[in-house]
Symmetry: D2
Subunit: 340 residues, 4 copies
């Protein structure tokens, strides 16, 4: 049997652990073919055979040894045809797609066309429905918390407000949990908009009492006043979001203008994605990989692996991509206890 | 209302997050009294009032600001009486005990005597039943994995076998997951004894192929041959376990003798307990603390908080202490895929 | 004897180690008075007595327990008078100023007015002349190198160019050494401008061969073409520098436009200043503090402590502030060996 | 020209940076031959050609890609002959030996026999004379300080004395500086023996005042009483030193017996050697490598590279191995200020 595996979308700590998990748990008569740069590798026919030696120790490395891209092979008829030709040419019996929404949607579509496909969910944002966690998320939260820990001393020494921007376009998980872990004094996430005035109320209360403040803000947060602002090219991107670094700078400016306090902004951006995964993410990636191979051996296709409590389970591919898992109000409310 | 809180047993990263969670989520009319050094504080009447200012930023610190001890107030009639007197004297309406088996057993007994008690489970070993994780565990696994990562380069450069000993008297969780995360080539845990000959088979296979090896061993592991050895004072402690550092040195010696390979042993011991908790453990501790306070406000006593998937729930105090959660065979088998 | 100590300018890991070093090495009959928020504390008369207990364990913390500011007491006659009144009022026999150029210039001026003053140099940029290193610098380099390490995996997985901006207005030390340590493929510092075309030559060579690239750029670097550009308010600050984040975004845009490669920018900014100092910086700060106190006891005033090889020495205050220590060409040339 | 390079003795973070520095700075017409496992590679003729691609990114890895051993080719006439034959067979014009005393002594002897040899000093103990620092040392101090930081919380929470053992047979540098950086309350190094009674005086003073204590002890420290104890096979090794782990356990036992305090011992051992080097050590290793190649190109043989202040210089090979650099009394006295 020949199994093609690929990683698509943004890179994420733990991808290599999944790859190693698949390769190491493959029975002897199963060949694993790594498809390079996501679905692109299948379209252009770029691949490499993966053996035990190729994956020795890779679970400790960030990124993905297979490379990644955002190529969608269903974008053009031409690409779809090439993909199907290459599946045949490479003799692939099964395809395991490791990736986010886009990657899994392609896998689901292939599955509905009769191909044997398995999905492994990947999102550093932790917003895949029907799984407790995805790998990479805990690493991002740790890196973010670490960075915020580090900013406390500067904010305190200078009596400043530091606004730190983390990832999260629609789901605020990374920002919320990194902020909670590192004791941010206000956390702003896309799910729960606030008006500038509400924000300033928190700012004044904190500054009066303690004289310094850390605000964690997700890139996708917009103050209520700006919710319907669309179109300022220089600040708003094609999705109607304030651009990377935009919201932190925006908040720093408006708070400084309105209160006179000394503010600074820091944008963590890509720092959260990279580097060696935490133990949790290495193990979760490994278990996902091993479980994906088990599904293959049981002939249980069209499914996605997922974490429920301490167990790895599988669910229909469609379920994972159906809805985004946003931060529930209850959980956000809990974080508010520590806004001060 | 006055609530007494205490931390008992071995220290664990995340204890301070629990304390902060309780204090910060307490309504204004609720006073929190910190009892010093576990149950001992209640026996000798040593306590301090805890306010918001006392817990500012402490969730980032290892250890416990309340101190800890292994004192069991039911050990003597005299101590029990003093404890009950102090509960009255301090005017405590509720007691929240944060600790392991021993601490929770005392809380359960107090509860059965009619006192209002809540338990928060604490074990770095992750062996409390009916909760997915306890705080401190992920930190220990990360510190352990980090240490093993670091040993790889020495083992490889010198062509050596390094045997690294981690915590785990009866449950091998820390050793198993740190070993899996860091790519140990053989993992030995109490739940699944192996004979020396089986171990040597792994050693020879690995050394022939790669020329170096990392073995992770739990302090409570005993080779099958030694299972019934009891009584050698110098090596076996009162519980019939090989002493701290004992099994690593034992394995290093016997492997070296029987194979001629160059071996070294490293005992991580207390390094795994200390220091700043990971984001996961800070958040879990925080959520436990907040939930314990919610139970108090709902009047839901005699219960222990627990994690199920992404939710904090509560279960009867007795359930948590009823049985140890050991590593299931399925999970151990998964780790074996990577023994090579 | 009463000694006033203060920390001025930007915060820096190791400041607390200096404070602890001074306090712990003070003889019993010497009182240490901490002046709050740099010279401002002396102008407004805000101070606190510092005892052994106040400095217990603080050398591990980032920032400064005394707070800091950029107040210059010689800016107005009024402030100067108040400062001199407060020196008298507080009964200060000696003043130890811990800070950069500005702070030390004030100390030197006080010294020339007849006050007993000692300086301890502080700059995260490592650009103080006549000292091998200043504390905080190694920490910043480590944090920077760590961040760049982490960006490698993302750049590689996506086949991208990541431009990472580090501190350094006039001196490129932090950028150069963090870049060298983390294997950046091109390093751009203020001391050695390059034309855009030269930069693009490096970019093309690297991308052709390896398909991804990390460029480390100091905030104060300007491509040769922009050297005389002054005045674009939105991008150039009062000193004629491209604003924070400016040069990284600028480079990302121009490289992307001119080569078509996928680029991203990351600005480390304040992340480099904060957090717990490395062992080297804790020790250097400690030794500086102890040596400053020795100078006081020997009556050797008007001097600044400095590091020469493994020894702490002292030099006249004026020498330290006389000239900036820039990256010498020889050293920059060495880094070029690894540009590929 | 063909240059043979090798790494000998204990592994050390930064070795790979030296190797990369040599390979990357070699002119095009110079071939670099890596000799495997120290001098052993030259005796048995095991080698590999090293190109730019082989050293890409290795400066970040601990250990040595060339492997290491303690083989001394002058131990037998037979080995010496084989070594000389292999030098001829491999066509080596120059040999660069990277290692400690033993490795450099061989290089010096080869040099005196007329071979062109260069030495790069390596010792994690920092005890090479005539160089300010050697690579690997700062990494070991950081890892040690980090570990001790982590032990503080446990010691404090339990009211315990923790004795932590670090490297240092004859020179106490690692122990002294890690202990100073992490705020150990007593530091014991081989250069300055103390009697048990003196130690107990420190213990009692500290415990009375603070109730917990961290003692850092070098493996080579012996209480004055034991200085002339030789021969107890189980505890004293061939060099008359207490065995690894011996002194920490010994101190823990004797302090517990004599004072009744709860004590624990932790042995850091090999943890200090491994893992990714700090930025300082990566750069120092790189500069050593580049400078060694410069010496080759200048024809300046029989020399060892060294660090003086911020400069890399070279000295005759014999000077480096002539004497050990021990901790001077002045420096030890400074550390005593913080014993409390």
């Amino acid at each position: 049997m020949r199994i093609g595996i690929l990683t698509g979308g943004g890179d994420c700590p733990g991808l290599n652990a999944v790859i190693r998990g698949i390769v190491k748990s493959a029975p002897e008569n199963v060949e694993i073919i790594g498809l390079m740069h996501g679905w692109k590798g299948l379209v252009v026919g770029e691949s490499m055979k993966l053996t035990d030696n190729d994956v020795e120790g890779i679970h400790i490395l960030g990124g993905t040894i297979l490379g990644t891209s955002r190529t969608n092979p269903f974008k053009s008829e031409d690409m779809r045809i090439k993909m199907e030709e290459n599946i045949k040419k490479l003799g692939l019996d099964v395809i395991i797609g490791i990736g986010g929404d886009d990657t899994l949607t392609v896998a689901a579509r292939l599955s509905s066309m009769g191909y044997k496909a398995i999905g492994v969910p990947k999102t550093i944002d932790n917003d895949v429905a029907n799984t407790d966690y995805t790998f990479g998320y805990q690493t991002a939260v740790n890196v973010g918390a670490d960075a915020i820990d580090r900013l406390h001393s500067t904010a305190k020494s200078h009596g400043r407000i530091i606004i730190v921007e983390l990832m999260g376009r629609e789901a605020g998980w990374v920002t919320l949990e990194a902020g909670m872990a590192a004791g941010a004094h206000l956390i702003l996430i896309p799910e729960y908009p606030m008006t500038i005035d509400e924000i300033l109320t928190y700012v004044k209360k904190r500054m009066d009492r303690f004289g310094y403040m850390i605000i964690a803000v997700a890139e996708g947060f917009k103050p209520t006043e700006l919710e319907n602002v669309v179109g300022d090219e220089s600040k708003i991107d094609a999705f109607g979001h304030i651009k990377l670094g935009g919201i932190a700078h925006y908040m720093a400016n408006i708070i400084s203008e309105r209160t006179g306090y000394d503010t600074r902004s820091v944008v963590l951006g890509h720092l959260l994605r990279g580097g060696t995964p935490t133990a949790f993410d290495r193990i979760l990636g490994t278990r996902y990989g091993v479980h994906a191979m088990e599904l293959v051996m049981k002939g249980d296709f069209g499914r996605m692996v997922a974490l429920k409590g301490n167990d790895i389970i599988s669910i229909p591919l469609e379920y994972g991509i159906a809805t985004k898992k946003l931060v529930p109000f209850e959980y956000y409310k809990l974080s508010q206890i520590f806004f001060d």
